[in-house]
Amino acid sequence: MELRRFTQPSATKPTHTTVSNSEIAKWNILDRPLTRSREELYLSTFSFLFAEAVQYLQTRVQQVSELEEKLNQLGYRVGQRALELLCFREKLNRREIRLVSILGFIRVQLWKFLFKKSADYLKKVTDREDEYYIEEEEPLVNRYISVPKDFGQLNCAAFMAGIIRGALDSAGFTASVSAHYIHREEKSRLAFTVTIFMIRLDESVMNRERKLAG
């Protein structure tokens, strides 16, 4: 019985030799170390799983907005756990208590942990104090997703928006996060589409920020 079937076969342990149930039972999650060598997941494995998740949720919703909401909720659980694990494991030994630093943490550390690259841009919405956005030209989760025409503006990166929301929320920065397609035109290249993750922070967070800023 293999427990981690989809990891890189770098260290070829003979995991498929028979392991009795009692041995698995002994291998408690609380006994396993948190620091481990970086294990990677095949992109195709993840893509299949994600596509299944989208299809499954699709059968349980009426509208596109509901589907995005469900994906968001799914990501929320990932975000919560990723934040907890990352802050503990990366030997940072620091929590983030300021808004700009937690956003930077998400853009760089969290993104690198999940997608092996930092997000393209983190920007503040002009003349809005409580709105920021993270821009990503090609979100990993959308690589093999093509949205049918009758699904309107569905962006499956709502899952990633959920991850951001989960990380922010559990760090004490309540926010709503949504994913949108934006068309961009630049002189040097053809018109292209990017995804932006719109982050709108709760008023309580902004009040606390003002206090901390003194």
């Binding site: 948190l34 907890e84 030994n93």
Partner: protein
Amino acid sequence: MAITFVIVSPQDQLLYEATFPPVSQTDETAHLREFILFASLDILEQVVWSTRDFYLKAIDRFNDQIIYGLVTASSVRLLLVSDGKSEEAVKNFLQEAYELYVKLALNPFFEPCKPILSTSFHERIQKLGKKYFV
């Protein structure tokens, strides 16, 4: 006197509680320790936003009882009340309990903000308590 350790969710729900040595019927101070732990939550709230450390040192005291706190990256609070145990032991205990909590939280079936009923978590916390406080 005994030591009480609690885990409190960001919404102030009690998730887990343990006493060392295990609580007996005759121990009349158990509810007092519980009370002073919860009374320190307000002070904790201020300390949490003034430092970036996980471990918050001694945050409050009540007579000879000292309350120590640790806050995780996702704002879960680990509190411990003791009378004059060495701070080093308390700090190590909280750090190790934190590690156990992170491992527990990684379980996809674990619901944050629900009481922790895992028996293996309980066993390990008891073991930690024996290691540091007995």
